[in-house]
Amino acid sequence: MNKPIGSDNDRRWLDEPRNVDRVVHTLYAICAVTVLLDFVVQRHETLDFAHWFGFYAWYGFVACTGLVLAAKLLRVFVKRPEDYYERARRSRGERMKTER
């Protein structure tokens, strides 16, 4: 079932780095448009500060960047090998056996 990767008939539009760039540039353009729409659309907000120009845009960007950086930091503390719990269980079992 497994065909070799990268063979000619297997390459798709997204495999071309140039096309990935196109997708990304489109995203940049959409970002710009949504922020510029803030000039046109009168936003109705319950909370005052949400009226700031591009509030949701920068909040979304800052929140997600902060999220990823915090998660990277979290990994330092919580990351363990995949079989962490199994290993602990085995070693407990073996200790019991040897001591008997």
Binding site: M1, N2, K3, I5, D10, R12, L14, D15, V24, L27, Y28, I30, C31, T34, V35, L37, D38, V41, Q42, R43, H44, E45, T46, L47, A50, G54, F55, Y56, A57, W58, Y59, G60, F61, A63, C64, T65, L67, V68, L69, A70, A71, K72, L74, R75, F77, V78, K79, R80, P81, E82, D83, Y84, Y85, A88, R89, R92, R95, M96, E99, R100
Partner: protein, 560 residues
Amino acid sequence: MTAWIHNPALILIGAGLVLPLLPRAVRAVLLIGAPLAAAAWLWSMPDSLTLSATLFGYELTPFRLDALSFVFALLFLLAMGLIGVFMMRTASRTESAASLIYSGSAVGAVLAGDLATLFIYWEITAIASALVIFANGPDSYRAGFRYLMIQITSGLMLFVGALIHFRETGSLGFELFGLDAAGGWWLFLGFGIKAAFPIGHIWVKDAYPSASASGTVVLSAFGTKMAIYALARGFAGTDLMIPIGTVMAAFPVFFAVIENDLRRVLAYSTINQLGFMVVGIGVGTELALNGAVAHAFVHVFFKGLLFMTMGAVLLRAGTCKGSELGGLYKSMPWTTALCIIGAASISAFPLFSGFVSKSLIMSDVAYQGHVFIWLVLLFAAAGVFHHSGIKIPYFAFFAHDAGIRCKEAPAEMMTAMVIAAVVCVGVGIFPQPLYSILPYPVDYVPYTASHVLSQTQLLIFSALAFTVLMRTGIYPPELRSTNLDVDWFFRRAIPDLAAASERVLVTLRGHLDRAFGVCARMLASRALRERMIHSRPTGAMAWWMGLLFAILLIFGIRQG
């Protein structure tokens, strides 16, 4: 007598009980037919109907249909019909039967008008859902036992709460309690464990990825939403739920970003979504409660859809780990597209179902002036797009091509996923039918230019952050790993401590042996020692359960 048998739940439970005896083709019919027949029956009932019965001299209400219980019962029945389509080809007899019984007892629980009936159905859901996990084979047994222990604990707390409440008030009616009611805290925490309150949440991330491709979809649909119903019924407007829900919405997002098992990422995102519902119930206004119920409704479908797509990936590619996947869009283009629809729905993109439900909650949190809560929820809303909306489809279907070439999902699974996707988009574009079955009248317009723009800005800039971090190489790669969570205490610290104390005891016994000879041998007989050493984990499990039960009973008796 009618009060006991007049209940759509019994169709599902009955179907589940006979299902194992039937041939495959009939099983498939039953999996879809039973929930749909029950849904039709429910639909034909009057808007409000309460049936009481007397048992051993106690007045019970085994059946109560009103606006709130109707939505949840209908939701569970429709969801089971949909999941029936998804699982009919791949699920084992045990899993199919357990799923029907599980969904049926969840329907019974939301239609229960008294705490005794609720407790009975609550415990059936615990056992049936554990069977759904066990049906996945020996690798799932340990996770299944851990799951069962927590579910039974939740049931015991409900039991103690009900007893205390009955002793103080003489009533078993399941009404709005609040924390000050007799036994209120017991009931609150019993429901809370099942609703994945912090610390109670560990079972969600532990159990969901342990079930089969279809079993996870089953697990995700009923249990937590049943608890959301119970909280909405018993504790609407309990302020404490606002901070609890906010924590639930925020913290799983961090774990989801670094989690490798994509079904576990979805489990974390389930906790995040439940957080929004819990906040809505805590705020407790009509708008917020409507929001919580609406969000529970759409969540079953979009999360079901996401778990289905990951189930299809697990079935075809053999793994759900982000580190092993990538490039699957070439082999599974339809599943990819459907996953993106689920992702857009959970992220609350305009025109998708999450948008029309989550905004009810967000708007009301702002109306009530909870500024800090609102900001955290907005962060969580951006975060959910980040991990469920982008990470899931990106690492499974795009990213670097892992070279896996497999078949597209089987037709039955595809059918179920397409139906779920149609519901997600349909509700997103035409929210009115959903709004019309909510418990309170809805006077809310989700589609204003202002709201569409603000939500789009939030999401598109979250996507921008992902893109920038990915292209600059800052984004943490998917790694084969286990991430410690609160479960470390239960799976590592306590067992280690138990093993250590066991060793101390055994050593002590050796000394005693020498010192007191026969006398000591009688005190700590060999049989006892053998049992202690050999019977783990089941022996230890029974021991812990016994201890827990004893503590609960002592507390219950003292309070009563």
